[in-house]
Subunit: 404 residues, 2 copies
């Protein structure tokens, strides 16, 4: 497996584009994105578990119920959620795009991201679709990635090549997500494309299984979005024998998918609203997978731990506190904690109690921009990793007045 | 029922004191508090559900297992938690105080609050106890309240008088709590005293029942502390016929207790770390008490809603989002939301969708320092209230480098 360039256009037969159509006032920021597969693709998706759901999710669910999709359209700047005419607008987006691409509206994945509860006008989208479609190209993954960004400060894309049954396949993805990130059974917006041939059933199985260890283990602020969605389009153009069951080929596909999703998770967490650091909590020695996950997620969700990381303060008591209230049954007296970055690793807690350590060295380690909080429960064989970020002045600034 | 002065010294037979003994470097801040009942009192308590528990909680639990206590000693500046010798130190605190007061160590409630995981030296406490005891007076509730403060910016105390069986009784309390506030079955540190005669069993019943609607409905930052504790001491010196069962007298006592606890909840939430506003979320029309509570708490815990309140931004979509991911089963299409303060009330969402409103008026309402977020689920008869605060730059500042 090899990391390659090209994002969602890396896989054969996929094109993309992103333009400014006028939903956002800022004319330098693209606000409408398109991904298109020249061959109708098998499609799988997972969605937010928030009871308040964006209208586009309802429409997308209907469209890919048959297991196929050819295109993804997504606007930023407005979530099209909690609006009386939301479904109507999402259907119009699909219809207009389908007409322009000469495909069935039923093969369109539609998504929106931005402010909740403000009516989304169809006009700029309607006016923008011809340019969006005519500009489609196989080197415009970055334009699409930019088109779906909201408070994101960095493009999020990746692609890898891998081999299935002797054929070289490619898989790539783009993501947006910075605030309102606390996925549960689904996640922020992630669009993944592959030319690997795989049935819709196995594609859905791969995605549903992968997100348990990837997107569901990310939190920026504990707020589960109304518009979370991950979709994968697999158009089979790599020419491999279609993956129809578990086995060697499926395992290879899962590995490639996981490389893409872990990369995007780290991108999203590290670019959390206002974040200055990516925080990774790795838990080992748990009695069960569920305990490992619960503990890892509780640590990266703790506002106090996040603020301490912002201040590069080795306040490990807050890590222990977050483990204690996580709801997971653990033996507190067996827990070891250390902080790690590329500057080194420093143990700070052994058997649930503090040990002497150099505050100076700890500070140096915590001043880096990628921090690992290592928690050893010393109580079993399961492990898990969760990704988050620090809590900063800028998170407050960004969210104190997001709508203006 | 009438609100009176005196705090924990309002009830007959109670004295208090607070001094600086040297745990904190800042010599102007009291760091050791004492409450003493001249008559051995019936005692009830609730504790944190965090698996990581402060050593003082373990000792206090043992001491009041027999239903009695005479004194409460509490230091601030150090939580005496996650220390290898924590139990030993907590027991020494009890023993030293008991010797000086000439009571049994088994009648001492001991508590600590502050940084986790730093050894607590007994020396300053040992040296301070004689002064602490000799200075006991029936007008020093405020000194005790100051002695238990950590990042609190305001004293938290209240007292009320009420009548049980023709006898005037008094009940008062002090509290500390500003960060790491997300009580669950118990809460931050709250010490309540009353001269009402009530059995230990009924006292515990009253407390356990009351906190479900008061302290357990408060959150500042989602972090459940390791040292949460509420205790009530009832010395019976008001001379009323002892309350031994439910009935009119018990109801009167519950009302008085609730007045004290709701006041302290509002104090704690409004003085949350870095907070500029008290946020109250009142939920009506729920199908069950549990749904009402879950929804109210989810709203006041949402970082995005809290940041919006800091910015006086009527971003009601975040309120709906927090309801949607709360886990409570609600009909989104029936939900109404309005914002209220002493400047007026403004409806912003009807039947789950946005309605037109004046942003200018909304801003004026949200610039006040006590905001009510009113959520009508229109789906049943149950209601609930939760208390929290806004998320501000200062929360990040305070917690970015708490230990130095």
């Amino acid at each position: 497996m090899e990391i390659i360039s090209g994002g969602v256009c890396a896989a054969k037969g996929f094109k993309a584009n992103g333009i400014h159509c006028g939903i956002r006032k800022n004319k330098t920021k693209r606000d409408l994105a398109l991904i298109y597969s020249e061959k109708r693709a098998n499609a799988a998706a997972v969605y937010t578990t928030n009871l308040v759901k964006g209208a586009p999710l309802t429409v997308t669910k209907q469209h890919i119920a048959d297991g196929y999709a050819s295109a993804v359209i997504c606007n930023s700047g407005n979530a099209n959620t909690c609006n009386a005419n939301g479904i109507e607008i999402a259907e119009q987006m699909s219809d207009l795009l389908a007409n322009e691409l000469k495909i069935s509206a039923n093969d369109v994945v539609v998504a929106s991201t931005g402010v909740i509860g403000q009516p989304l006008s169809i006009e700029p989208i309607k006016n923008g679709i011809p340019e969006l479609v005519s500009g489609l190209a196989d080197n415009k993954s970055a334009e699409a990635a930019e088109g779906i960004m909201t408070t994101d400060t960095r493009l999020k894309e990746i692609a890898v090549s891998f081999t299935v049954g002797g054929k070289v396949c490619k898989i790539g993805g783009i993501a947006k997500g910075s605030g309102m990130i606390h996925p549960n059974m689904a996640t922020m917006l992630v669009f993944i494309t592959t030319d690997c041939a795989i049935t819709t059933e196995m594609l859905q199985k791969a995605l549903s299984s992968d997100i348990q260890n990837t997107f569901n283990m990310v939190s920026v602020d504990g707020d589960t979005s109304t518009n979370d969605m991950v979709t994968v389009l697999a158009n089979g153009m790599a020419g491999n024998t279609e993956i129809t069951a578990e086995g060697e080929d499926y395992t290879e596909f899962m590995k490639a998918l996981n490389t893409v999703t872990v990369h995007l998770c780290r991108c999203i967490a590290g670019d959390g609203e206002g974040a200055t650091k990516l925080i990774e909590c790795s838990v080992t020695g748990a009695q069960s997978d569920s305990i490992a996950k619960t503990v890892a997620k509780s640590v990266i969700c703790s506002s106090l731990t996040k603020a301490a990381m912002f201040g590069a303060d080795a306040n490990w008591g807050r890590v222990l506190c977050a483990i204690g209230y996580s709801g997971a049954v653990v033996d507190v007296n067996k827990i070891d904690v250390s902080f790690k970055s590329q500057k080194g690793e420093i143990p700070v807690c052994k058997n649930g109690a503090g040990i002497e350590f150099s505050e100076e060295i700890a500070k140096e380690i915590l001043l880096e921009n990628e921090i690992e909080i290592k928690v050893a429960l010393n109580d079993g064989e399961y492990s898990s990793t969760a990704w988050g970020c620090d809590l900063t002045y800028d998170y407050v600034k960004i969210n104190g007045d997001y709508r203006t």
